[in-house]
């Protein structure tokens, strides 16, 4: 039996909505298989307000053990570090998050807001993640924080977090398995590949067959602002809702799994100098890139130039 408390802070509820769609196992089967006892979820629980207060008191005093704390949404610190832009019973929710974190064996940040601050990290609400503020370690809990089980906060980035990633992380935690993490404490099994991997437009990318507008088949990286080759995430491996992905459906990747999301530069545009993107695919050197893409474009087969190849 593993107890789980789901805390919602400054977010949209999208990670919950995404998680409700988990498939094979579905949510019911997953909780059953892992023997998870859901102490509280703001959208699902039916215990009374008085019972909820009593539950929190037991968790915070240590009378009742908390195996897994899931936090969804950013920690809101504004205005002026008071946290009162997000309050519960007249007290800042950030304090509740910190108090529960001190009691939890494992802490999971569901989504980019809880991981890195996300929406609002650069704004008056002073949003931060639990253990990172964008790329900088620290956040609400501090870079040296460790949970009772000796782990940092597991960051399941994404806006929203993919349902299968949440299910997979909970499975590993309950089984006592160690998830190998990257420098931003994201599990490498899902964040050790770019979003570009598995995109059905890859061949268009390979031969630099570029798109300038929507509803076409070519690559969205060169002009349409696609972050797919720049950021890590499993979107085109796991697919969304078991069906597709944004890039497959002609929507550029906005880099929502990255600590810097949302970046300040406009979406749907690729920053470039003389037609060459400023941000190159992860790890790529500019000199090699220019030679490679020049040759690739020259070698592009007619079927791609004519957009005959389906995506």
């Amino acid at each position: 039996m593993a107890s789980l408390y789901w805390l919602q802070c400054g977010g949209c509820g999208g990670d919950t909505m995404s998680f409700l769609g988990v498939d094979s196992p579905d949510l019911i089967e997953l909780f059953d298989a892992l023997d998870i006892r859901l102490l509280w979820h703001p959208s699902l629980s039916a215990i009374s307000p008085a019972e909820h207060d009593a539950l929190l008191a037991r968790l915070l005093s240590g009378e009742e053990a908390l195996d897994i704390l899931v936090v969804e949404g950013a920690i809101i610190r504004g205005p002026a570090n008071t946290g009162m832009f997000d309050a519960r019973h007249g007290r800042p929710k950030k304090d509740l998050a910190a108090a529960l974190a001190a009691r939890a064996n494992h802490i999971v940040a569901a989504g980019t807001c809880a991981s890195f601050g996300g929406i609002g990290a650069d704004d008056a609400i002073q949003a931060t993640g639990l253990q990172f503020l964008k790329k900088e370690a620290g956040g609400l809990l501090g870079k040296d924080f460790r949970s009772r089980a000796g782990m940092p906060v597991i960051n399941l980035a994404g806006c929203p977090c993919h349902a299968e990633v949440m299910a997979g992380a909970l499975t590993a935690l309950v089984a006592g398995q160690t998830l190998e993490l990257d420098e931003f404490n994201r599990p490498l099994d899902w964040y050790g590949m770019t979003v570009h991997q598995g995109c059905t437009r890859n061949e268009y990318h390979e031969y630099r067959v570029e798109e300038w507008d929507f509803a076409q088949r070519g690559c969205l990286f060169f002009h349409m602002g696609c972050h797919g080759p720049l950021v890590d995430g499993p979107c085109n491996k796991l697919l969304w809702n078991g069906r597709s992905s944004k890039t497959r459906a002609g929507v550029p990747c906005f880099g929502c799994t990255d600590p810097s999301f949302p970046t300040a530069s406009p979406f749907f545009e690729t920053r470039n100098i003389e037609g060459v993107p400023i941000d190159l695919p992860k790890g790529m050197s500019r000199a090699h890139y220019l030679v490679y893409k020049g040759m690739a474009a020259a070698a592009a087969p007619e079927r791609l130039k004519k957009r005959d190849t389906r995506i």
Binding site: G14, D26, A46, I76, F85, R88, W240, V251
Partner: protein, 506 residues
Amino acid sequence: MTKRILCDIPLNRVEGDLEIRVALENNRVVDAWSSGTMFRGFENIMVGRGARDGLVITPRICGICSTTHLMAAARALDRIAGVTVPDNAIRLRNTALLAEHCQGDVRQSLLMFLPDFASAAYAEHPLYAEAVTRYTPLQGTRCIDAVRQTKTLLEIIAILGGQWPHSSFMVPGGVSYVPPLTELNQCRHILRHYRQWYERSVLGCTLTRWQQVQSASNLDAWLAESAAHRDSDTGFLLRFADRAGLRELGRGHGHFLSSGLPDMPAETAAGPYAFAAGFRDSTGRCQPFDQLQVAEHVAASWYADYPGGRHPSTGITEPYATGAEGKKYSWGKAPRYLDLPAETGPLAERIIGNDPLFLDLLQRDGVNLVMRQLARLTRPARLLPAMEIWLDEMIARPDQPYYTPVQHMPDGQGYGLIEAARGTLGHWVEIRDGRIARYQIITPTAWNGSPRDSMDVRGPWEEALIGTPIKDIGNPVEAGHVVRSFDPCLVCTVHVVGAGRLPLHC
């Protein structure tokens, strides 16, 4: 003298957290204050960003209605770009939008509203044991079924637009993707599966049979007609609510607002399924919807004061968090139509659309929380056929366009209004020098859950709470029914949400 006590009620199973303060006399609500506890500052986050960035940022206001925000944002940009959106793009947008509505209506009913009937507060109710079996979170038979079925419908949005939630496939001029015939066929299969489940389990009858329910007496006859009807979620809602006396509760001001579903393809057979637009006051007078009549007040909201209300195109959102005056109690602004508070959502749309069943129920029972919830739970019966028609029309027109090129987003002002799952949603946008200069959003929950305005008039669910009996203040399920019947989405109330707290007085 009657003792008056003030009590703060936190409410969950709404999108986001909500805290409501009520004043009680003899265990009845005599006054209510609804205040947002969260300020996310979305409108200010938007300023200075790229012209199209609303398509990416605003869906992230809300995890349960992200497609709806996307549509409002896209429509505002369509207007600024002055572009004609092709029929197929309208069909695709509408199909995705209504898929989101049809999952939301069922999830809210089965996972958020009905679980209150399984509360210990109803231990004496004759249908309590059945309610527990059906609606206990994650264990009840109907809850499990809802979790398993609602997610399938969202696959349609993923096929057409990449993912749910939080995609950005609606763009000024149309959509980002031309779905091949085979994928449209897949959507049709998914829709058929969902419709059959909805008919079998939620209604207990075919959509055709349900559409014959045109009056209050028809509804009574429908309920008496068969065990399948009574055992459905719709039947159970009516049976349980009647024995609990819930038709007496959740009345409100009786003013209704709907901005309609204004985008219909020029050529479509789905016309009869269009959402009506308009405003109807409590005397029954109706008038066409005019977005210029919308104004937001901040007298009771934690924002820098201005007199009266302001149209959102000139709206300002400057947080001013102080309890010093004692007058301000919410991060929510108070939107008003013709200076009146207005209820919005499936019931409002049905009444403005002159739906015979709901007009008759209104006549017989007055506004109440049961008819509000009934309107939501049975709305997919109207939406699913429209989705079928649009998918079939797309399948029949593979060579027609899905996008009109918009080479460059010009500067300008525009708005996007849409009937969201929870009611009227508006985005008001100004683009200047290729950047967003102003972005104001009014969500359905901003309307329904608004605080008092500058005339000190309560918001819709504040008013609807008046007269509600609260048997046990530790478990105030009755207040929960009233507020949940509006399907609150607190995360959406961008510059609101939850309840700004004064000290606990209970």
